[in-house]
């Protein structure tokens, strides 16, 4: 749903659309008048009606100019030139065509309506109604002047009067009614902005929750299970490093500008490699296979999310699977990078177990979904566990960016 134009732009947008519509209707009226004159000329070859058709040409050109270059100057010029054209049109028509002996005939009204539908510049009630009234007065004035010269009957033209009445009435009611949404529009736009910021904040909170789970909660869990005595050196160094990270560094702000070519240039300097190495240091045997070069195809944010999700999967293998080995398979395909973590451990019933509610849910599922990826989990008791993590890669991001600029709306 688009939220529509903001309050300060809405009148201009509506006025522009209304002007375009009126110019279209004016050109239609001129075309109808032309067809009538040409047809009558063909029917009455002894009458000289074609000069009346010529008067419609400057009017048509004038409508197009007012439409393309809306300004007070072009609008006034169109009204004055149009009035002259209507005068000429009525003069020739009433003089040469016996059927046009009244100024309210359809043929004459079609030309006058084209002048009333001037669709002049401006966005307010006064300008919209004012231009229409000016067009009506000039058209009627020109008609009366011409008719008086040819002796035609000057009659009240209901069609022209109805046209200007509809324009004036519509402009007034719309102008008066605008106040009803004057307060609501900015509120709706503010709500959209707040929703967007809320979404961004929520993403950050997910990342923060996952980070705290991976660091603080894991360390607290390790401490609660550690034996009496000295702190294991690996745990001590991890706690120290994570404290320095949490307190001293900006661990939520990502450099999201690339695919991070400098870091991912080689496997050994990749985030995923660091995670695998860390798991190996904890005593887990990890076999990595597949297209490691594909890791270079994702952005820094996705690379980081992927690595941390895989880290949680490997932590789960070490904690729950009852085995000391796992396999990590990397696969790149057009638009997507997938990583699968497989173990041949004890497995679990995914339908019954609320498997580490924060662990799988936030460190894996929600974290990956937050960067536009997806996770699938297969496991059953006694048959091991497989976790397939997919994230969009740079080639798909380019496609998505192109499609966003060529179509669709908010």
């Amino acid at each position: 749903m688009s939220l529509g134009l903001p309050v300060h732009l809405a009148p201009f947008g509506t006025a522009r659309a209304a002007a375009r519509a009126m110019h279209t209707m004016a050109l239609s009226s001129i075309a109808i008048a032309l067809v009538c004159i040409v047809t009558l000329q063909a029917l009455l070859p002894d009458r000289i009606l074609w000069p009346a058709a010529l008067a419609m040409v400057p009017m048509a050109v004038g409508v197009i100019i007012v439409d393309r270059f809306p300004s007070t100057l072009t609008t006034v010029a169109y009204l004055l030139i149009g009035a002259a054209c209507v005068y000429w049109y009525v003069l020739v028509g009433t003089a040469e065509y016996p059927g046009a002996d009244r100024t309210d005939s359809f043929i004459i009204a079609a030309a006058k309506v084209a002048l009333i539908l001037v669709g002049g510049v401006g966005s307010g009630v006064v300008s919209a109604a004012g231009w229409a009234i000016a067009g009506y007065l000039l058209a009627e004035g020109a008609t009366i002047l011409a008719a008086s010269q040819t002796g035609s009957h000057i009659a009240f033209d209901g069609l022209s009067a109805a046209t200007v009445a509809v324009i004036v009435a519509s402009s007034v009611v719309i102008g008066v009614n605008r106040f009803r949404t004057r307060a609501a529009k900015p509120s709706v736009h503010r709500a959209a902005r707040d929703e967007h910021l809320s979404h961004v904040r929520h993403r950050m909170e997910i990342k923060a929750a996952a980070m705290l789970h991976d660091t603080v909660l894991n360390h607290l869990a390790a401490l609660s299970l550690a034996p009496d005595g000295s702190l294991p050196p690996s745990l001590r160094s991890q706690i120290t490093a994570d404290l320095q990270l949490l307190v001293g560094q900006e661990w939520l702000v990502d450099d999201d500008s690339t695919p991070d070519d400098a870091v991912l240039a080689s496997w050994q300097s990749s985030n995923l490699a660091a995670v695998v190495n860390e798991s190996v240091q904890r005593g887990l045997r990890v076999e990595v296979s597949g297209d490691r070069a594909a890791l270079a195809s994702v952005s820094a944010e996705r690379s980081s999310a992927l690595a941390l999700a895989v880290k949680q999967c490997l932590v789960n293998v070490a904690k729950h699977a009852g085995v000391d080995s796992a396999e990590v398979v990397v696969h790149g395909s057009p638009g997507e990078l997938s990583v699968m973590v497989v173990d041949a451990g004890s497995g679990f019933d995914v339908t019954k177990t609320e498997a580490d509610r924060l662990g799988l849910r936030h460190s894996v599922f929600t974290r990956i979904e937050a960067v536009g990826g997806s996770v699938q989990l297969w496991s059953s008791p006694g048959n091991g566990t497989s976790v397939l993590i997919r994230v969009p890669s740079q080639s798909r991001e380019s496609l998505d960016a192109r499609s966003a600029t060529t179509g669709g709306s908010a």
């Binding site: 688009s2 047809t39 009611v173 709706v188 607290l220 009496d228 709306s409």
Partner: protein
């Protein structure tokens, strides 16, 4: 939720602004038809058919005004078809009432009436549909003229007579189609600009949001967690008390994190607004045990946000009374929102109608009840998203 390219659905508030023109057409077209019928009464062969045509037109106009209400949005293709059909039928009946006596097509009220009805639909249906409706109406008008050809007092060729008869429909429908298209194009341009600016706001703003979130977490950790870790690192040995303390802290922080995860955007919204308007109680205002609020789409959340802010801002709204229940049934979610607003319905509606109009677009089955002072909203949305 499919949003069509109409002003009503893409800018509900602008459609509210345009609503009075619907009343104008609804009242003016039958009046216009009645006046012309009276002025041309000498041409009428069958008064029954003439009255019938006016009756059908009046019914059509009433239906048009009723179906374009913001609280019955959106005005659908089917509704448009009913309006168009009503206009066409009334014109055919009027022409039949003057079958052998209609001298001039120019004073027939049918084509202008149909044209005005189509023009009034400009804010509610896409340009293509309006153009198609105009084309259909033109064909019908031409057929009617052809049927009346014998009675017409004219020496003009048929094509000119048909042109004169069909001109009001063609011109008005064409203008309405252009108006609808131009509005849509303007909304599209603005929407693209807004998307880019929101992205910039998010991208550029995400750093300060990240720092804000990080600062909140570090503040939480500094209370007990970090001092605990520092004491463990400094101590020569790990003891049972420290193990117990680690377990306690783990449970506590886990509970805080779970509570934060379970707190939806809707919880936060109602809580913040209530607090801002004098109700500082920290309590669950949204009964949503399954986290169904997250199933709302971005547009639905935006509309909900705008409405909730407006509701709490109403001077007669009791902030303590606002609550919401969301449940799941079948394949969609049901929401019930209640609030106490001690003011006459006309003032409540006047203040909240624009927001209700926006809500109605994104929740098409929105039902609003107001029995002073109880305001109740009921609506459904979305399919349950799998969160396994």
């Amino acid at each position: 939720m499919t949003i069509e390219r109409t002003l009503q659905q893409r800018d509900p508030l602008a459609a509210i602004v345009a609503r009075p023109t619907t009343y104008l057409v609804g009242a003016g077209v039958p009046l216009y038809a009645g006046v012309l019928l009276w002025l041309n009464r000498d041409d009428i062969d069958s008064f029954g058919l003439a009255v019938g045509s006016l009756f059908v037109l009046s019914l059509t106009a009433v239906y048009f005004v009723y179906s374009t209400s913001p609280l019955r949005a959106p005005f659908t293709r089917a509704m448009f078809a009913v309006v168009l059909s009503g206009g066409i039928v009334s014109h055919v009946l009027a022409a039949a009432s003057m079958y052998s006596s209609n001298s001039f097509v120019r004073d027939d009220w049918g084509p202008p009436a149909i044209g005005l009805l189509i023009a009034a639909v400009a804010a509610y249906r896409p340009a293509r549909e309006i153009a198609l409706a105009g084309a259909i109406a033109v064909v019908v008008v031409v057929i009617v003229v052809a049927a009346q050809a014998q009675s017409l007092e004219t020496t003009f060729p048929f094509h000119l007579v048909a042109l004169v008869a069909a001109a009001p429909v063609a011109v008005l429908a064409g203008g309405a189609a252009i108006f609808s298209r131009e509005l849509d194009a303007g909304l599209e341009r603005w929407s693209n600009m807004r998307t880019m600016s929101l992205s910039a706001l998010g991208d550029g703003g995400s750093e300060w949001i990240a720092r804000s979130v990080q600062q909140d977490r570090v503040t939480l950790l500094n209370q007990e967690i970090i001092p605990f870790f520092e004491s463990v690192l400094a101590a020569p040995q790990l003891t049972q008390s420290e193990r117990s303390r680690a377990s306690e802290l783990s449970s506590a922080i886990r509970a805080i994190m779970v509570a934060e995860i379970d707190r939806s955007w809707l919880d936060a919204l109602l809580e913040n607004e209530a607090r801002a308007h004098g109700d500082p109680r920290i309590m669950r205002r949204v009964n949503d045990p399954h986290g169904l609020a997250d199933d709302m789409l971005v547009e639905q959340r935006t509309a909900m946000r705008a409405f909730v802010v407006a509701l709490f801002a109403h001077p007669a709204c009791n902030p303590e009374s606002v609550d919401m229940v969301i449940s799941h049934t079948g394949d969609h979610n049901l929401a019930l929102m209640r609030a106490s607003v001690a003011a006459p319905e006309i003032t409540v509606r006047g203040a909240l109608d624009p927001y209700l109009a926006v809500l109605r677009i994104v929740f098409p089955d929105l039902h609003v009840d107001f029995e002073q002072p109880e305001l109740t909203l009921r609506f459904s949305y979305g399919e349950r998203r799998d969160r396994s």
